[in-house]
Amino acid sequence: MQDLENTEAQRAQRHNGIVVVGVGNDFRQDDAAGLIAARRLRDCGILAEEHQGDFATLMETWKDAGSLILIDAIAPGRVPGAMYRLNASTSALDRQVFNTSTHAFGLADVIELSRTLGTLPPRVLVFGIEAKNLAVGVGLSPEVEASLPELVKEVMVCVLTQSGVPSVPLW
């Protein structure tokens, strides 16, 4: 894996205001997927923040961003580990799908609150990975773990393309 630390890609990401945030909880099994994705993205030289989901400080992470990429686990019920890429730039996410948060402020609500207050960046892409298990505990399910490399790759391609450095070898 090429080390992209302080490379053209990171500078371009900063210059273009591309903010990447992985959201989740390390102690709720598959809910940690967004956090782990952020860690792996950083290992690949992408600037990516981890966030526990508190809505007020989460909104701060994309203040002044031009493009926002969010990664979060989504509610189980269909295919565990399935990856979803959703454009939330102009339309709301399904509140029933992104509902795992305290006090009924899930990721869908935070995005809509930010849109209402005029603080949402013009481009918002949400990568969701379907959880299998959100009970108390640590470690991802095999299904989510198996899908995570593909999700990380997709986010990298997206960041590098939007940063204008698509020629960087990724893997």
Binding site: Q52, E60, H103, A104, F105, L113
Partner: protein, 430 residues
């Protein structure tokens, strides 16, 4: 027989999972049950066999909204067991971190969860379309509360810097940097917010509560004091179990707390205000008077005004503590571990939080008891609903459902803490 049924399968803007049943038969309220079905979380059992040092960090995991309350009750109970008295600078820093939690928790409830009820919005997002400045202010205040917790606790959610005997690390005076100035701006915004809550459409609903809260001479109690009530209760935390009992009810995973021989009581901002108003500093009492609060406040709907007032107080107190800060010689004091039982009650944003631990001579926890404020208020929520619905049994069902939800949110209940949400069923039978 005429039956009317209202079902709310998922009441938003309450932390945790629960249901409410209101059954109306022949125009009378026949049954009210707050059914908490969030699974039991077994924290008291997890704690057995763990080191006493772990209790503050393990119990902080009970709640993402009020982790400091859990840390404070746990650390003070352990210090009670070990006979540890922390020096004043440590005591002040603990009060400061509690101010942070009161600010962030009250700001969340006032602006994002409770205010939409008063203004007729289904949620804060819809409210923000018409009242963006108010919601922005709420977010700013909440962030300042989070900032205090992050600064002293290491992080905003489940902080990790509190330990038995003090802190793992204490800040230098320099490290506070511009925090005090930011808090002063927040205090001004908060003072406006107190007056804004006065403008909210307010239902008249005076209640005859037994209020229970901590009381401490010379300060509005947070971390220590005697447990007192307006009906002559005046005890130490060590006497809690002799005066309070928990009852199991078949329909709820949370225990109901009662005062032995008397029954239900209310804990939280309204209780604190009514028992400790005289201990608030003059600017806060002045803000209370301007907000239309009298010497007593018996209307649970006005809890939103009292929460705003307490938030204003927490800003005042945080600024006072920072400006007078004299760093401790060491972040924590030395002590010897020995067997014992310790007791503590502190004031979580939503009410009194009681902890009791027994440890052996190696400091291993043998027994733990935790009584969160929502457990204590659970029965009173049912009483409030019964009394509220009784004269209103014939109003349109959607309106009654919305008003019942507001009655519940007066308490800022934290169901996750109590199980140890909210689905409301109102059945009308005639």
């Amino acid at each position: 027989m005429r039956t009317r049924t209202i079902n709310v399968n998922y009441l938003a803007r309450v932390e945790g999972e629960s249901a409410m049943l209101v059954r109306i038969r022949n125009g009378r309220v026949a049954e009210v049950k707050l059914k908490i079905f969030e699974p039991p979380r077994f924290f008291e059992a997890f704690l057995r066999g763990r080191s006493y040092l772990e209790a503050p960090d393990i119990t902080a995991r009970i709640c993402g909204i009020c982790p400091i309350a859990y840390q404070m009750s746990a650390v003070h109970a352990m210090e009670d067991a070990l006979g540890v008295m922390v020096p004043k600078p440590i005591r002040e820093l603990r009060r400061l971190i509690y101010c942070g939690e009161w600010i962030e928790s009250h700001a969340l409830h006032i602006f994002m969860l409770h205010a939409p009820d008063f203004l007729g919005y289904p949620d804060a997002i819809r409210m923000a379309k018409d009242h963006p400045r108010i919601v922005q202010q709420g977010l700013e205040l909440k962030k300042l509360g989070n900032e205090i917790i992050s600064f002293l606790g290491g992080r905003a959610i489940h902080p990790i810097n509190v330990r038995v005997g003090g802190f793992y690390r204490t800040p230098t005076r320099m490290e506070f940097g511009p925090l005090s100035e930011r808090l002063k701006r927040g205090r001004d915004v908060c003072r406006e917010a107190v007056q804004w809550t006065r403008t909210l459409p307010m239902r008249e609903y005076p209640r005859d509560y037994e209020f229970v809260a901590l009381q401490h001479p010379g300060e509005y109690a947070m971390n220590e004091g005697r447990i007192v009530s307006n009906r002559a209760l005046n005890i130490t935390a060590r006497e809690y179990d002799a005066h309070f009992e928990e009852q199991q009810v078949p329909y709820s995973n949370a225990l109901h707390s009662m005062i032995k021989g008397r029954g239900t009581y209310l804990t939280g901002p309204l209780a604190r205000y009514n028992l400790n108003l005289g201990l608030l500093p003059a600017p806060v009492r002045e803000a209370a008077r301007e907000a239309g609060l009298g010497e007593t406040c018996l209307n649970p709907f006005q809890s939103i005004v009292v929460r705003a007032l307490e938030m204003f107080y927490a800003f005042e107190e945080a600024i006072r503590i920072i400006e007078a800060y004299d760093p401790p010689e060491t972040p924590s004091i030395d002590y010897e571990t020995h067997a014992g039982t310790g007791y503590a009650a502190t004031e979580a944003p939503r009410g009194t939080l009681y902890h009791r631990y027994s440890i052996d001579d190696r400091g291993i926890i043998q027994d733990a008891k935790i009584v969160p404020p929502t457990s204590q208020n659970q029965k009173m929520i049912e009483n409030d609903l019964r009394e509220y619905v009784t004269p209103r049994v014939d109003i349109p069902i959607d309106q009654l459902r919305a008003e019942c939800e507001q009655v519940i949110r007066n308490y800022d209940p934290c169901i996750s803490c109590a199980t140890h949400f909210l689905k409301i069923e109102i059945e009308r039978e005639a």
